[in-house]
Symmetry: C2
Subunit: 432 residues, 2 copies
């Protein structure tokens, strides 16, 4: 068996789009129960908005993160509160949190989607799976946990932190698959080296890598170091969490489950659709959610729809890995820069280690960008002349990629402290 | 509806015991699949051990924590590994961890038991429930989480830590029920006072209080401060986690679910059964577990079986709150002392605050016990003469209870730092 749900995963495009339209109209009716959508999804005669074709979706308004904030706590809830069995609340770094609601049916559906992803990535009931990611309000932990249990794998809910314990568990239980954020997968390599362990001896077969964007270069490092498939996972809590799009073993982009989501890619400035193959902001409409349907939700994630069919036989379209988040973008000397561009350049150099941070400073109106990056362990003893040359080469490569001049500071291996949770890539110290 | 499962909860004792015997014999067959039990549950002729009466259980050997350690990782697993969907691993403070396995059926059953407990405590589908307890390998978080979702409550998986966020969530969502460890429920009172909030204004109706032993005096403080039912919850990860025994609103002990467990109370020295009403060590035999049945597991928890029926109509017997753990007991000047005895004495004084620690020191062969205890906020300005007298009164009360002389040090309110997770009650600094 190659598929978790062969019928849905390989559904002929015409039928898939028919299913989408039918579920979209059901979703529009359901969404209209939420205060936020009530007026937006009712026409001037008081009738619910229903669409005759998928193309008509482009006529409906977008939903944005700021709408979720403004509607907190119950503005987007489309079911009675007593039907809700789970709430995930964003950490609200900006002060105002957002809430995402789930009925039991929503959880069942989300769980099934995650199981479908894990099965596609190659996980089976006889896998031993360590979920090395935060539980609780963060959707990454509970989302993968439920999906892996549904699949029937043996789940070790190890959560975040305590690296030596994580490694002990992997070895004691002969773990075959882990879920990990990319920066932690790289940081673990340092710990393994200190313990004089070869990462390949862990025997991992599969790393599910998600929760923060990372580059193809970082993936190749992870795969090469662990000798395992590092599978790219995509999701966001507003439309569930993990399980939105996932790689198949052909590793040519992530299948986005179009029976559950309608995908659009737009130019974030003009809000017009971009052509397949062109980068833009991913916009998602949920098709199966009861408690909190979202119509044309702007994810702020930048990606490309990849053209052509996939050799695996799944008909759901593929998106590229996330090239950055519009939120993460910073402007320096008038140029838009994404941390992922910096990472891709750095990780292309074998002399570069596993962690970096971008520091932005200013002297009056003049901004400066400094990339502080660890050198790789096996280059620890590099002489100062070679280091100076490497700095120059990195600086030139970054300037060519970003079109901004950049200072590069080389640091000894493991000098950037490990963080619990997502890595902090940009340290903006500018005062204007 | 008063019951989650009326038939089972009110099953006539004769039928309940019939069900127990039938499930026990099934469990003995299942347990014999585990390497640890294989020989123990097979007679000399190679036939599986089967019992004719519940009384015969007393003839089978005990299972102890040290057996679980010795059998790590798979010595107690009674199903094929591929049928396991969850593993909880103890933190292994002693160096050797223990593992507890669950099949999907085990999880369903555990989840249903927790839902039964919560329903009994008064939780319903329209409750908003904040699970302020650790997720991941610790069973308290996921156990209550699954049960509350099954019940249909709206679950906010807030996890541990970040007190100001916990309080924000309670207020933003008008939370009606929380799950919390007793020491944290008391610590929260300090934070609320600092924020000039009356704990009663939170509007909590129910606090599920578990994961560490606490006294009736502490419970009354919690109930009085929050103006809510503080429901005593008991469980241990070896036989699932939470959901083993729980209070009904009559608050006269915890109903232990005898359709899932056979309970015995023994003298931990002689290993002989004690009479109902006498304190001893709780011993549990699981009746519904597939992956890891345990026969006569010594919990190390001290309690009493309470005589007589409960007015709620449930036929499952009640145990007293846990008076202490044989593990927590310490010996000073030849006397056995449980931290719970100290807590019960301290919490009986209105001048005493919400936290304490027992410090053990020695001068050569002579041991000393000092109880460091916070005074209550409203006595902050107590004069030194009154303090000296209070110390003396507390010292006398402790000596009367423990039969050991104790020094008492009064500390200002909130001077003992809050810990994430279980409170550390004994600081043994003795060097022998
Ligand atoms: Zn594919
Ligand atoms: Zn009762």
């Amino acid at each position: 068996m190659m598929f978790w749900n062969q019928e849905i995963e390989t559904l002929e495009r015409g039928k898939l789009e028919q299913l989408q339209l039918q579920r979209l109209n059901k979703t529009l009716l359901q969404a209209a129960n939420a205060p936020f959508y009530k007026d937006k999804l009712t026409d001037s005669a008081g009738r619910p908005v229903q669409l005759k074709s998928l193309e008509e979706l482009a006529g409906l308004p977008f939903t944005e993160k700021k709408d979720l904030r403004a509607g907190f706590p119950y503005g987007h809830l489309a079911t009675p509160r007593r039907d809700v069995v789970r709430v995930h609340v964003s950490s609200g770094t900006t002060g105002v949190p957002t809430a995402v609601y789930h009925t039991q049916s929503d959880l069942d559906n989300w769980t099934d989607l995650v199981a479908r992803c894990l099965y596609m990535a190659g996980m089976r009931a006889d896998d031993i799976f360590q979920n090395m990611i935060g539980y609780g309000l963060f959707t990454g932990g509970l989302g993968l946990h439920y999906g892996a249990e549904r699949l029937g794998a043996m789940v070790i809910p190890s959560g975040v932190g305590n690296t030596s314990r994580q490694l002990s568990l992997i070895r004691q239980f002969a773990v075959s698959a882990v879920h990990v954020i990319p920066s932690y997968a790289l940081k673990l390599l340092d710990s393994l080296r200190e313990m004089k362990l070869d990462p390949r001896d862990l025997g991992l077969r599969l790393l599910i890598v998600g929760a923060e964007p990372y580059t193809e270069e970082a993936r190749q490092r992870i795969e090469h170091s662990y000798g395992a498939f590092a599978c790219n996972s995509y999701g966001l809590s507003e439309v569930n969490g993990p399980g939105v799009a996932f790689e198949c073993p052909h590793k040519n982009g992530m299948h986005l489950w179009e029976d559950n989501y309608i995908l659009e890619v737009i130019n974030p400035e003009t809000l017009e659709p971009v052509a397949d193959g062109q980068q833009g902001e991913l916009v998602l409409t949920t098709l199966c959610r009861q408690a909190m349907p979202l119509i044309r939700y702007r994810t702020r994630d930048l990606c490309t729809v990849l053209p052509g069919p996939c050799a695996c036989g799944r008909t759901h379209r593929r998106i590229s890995r996330i090239a950055g988040r519009t939120d993460d973008m910073f402007i320096i000397k008038g140029v838009n820069v994404y941390p992922m561009q910096v990472e891709a350049t750095l990780m292309g150099f074998k002399e570069v280690g596993n962690d970096y941070v971008i520091v932005l400073t200013n002297d009056g109106p003049v901004d400066y960008m400094t990339v502080r990056v660890e050198i790789a362990e096996r280059y620890r003893t590099m002489d100062s002349e070679t280091m100076a040359k490497l700095s120059q080469r990195l600086g030139r490569a970054l300037r060519d990629e970003l079109l901004v001049s950049t200072r590069v500071e080389l640091l000894p291996p493991e000098s950037i402290p490990a963080v619990v949770g997502k890595a902090v890539r940009v340290d903006d110290r500018r005062k204007h």
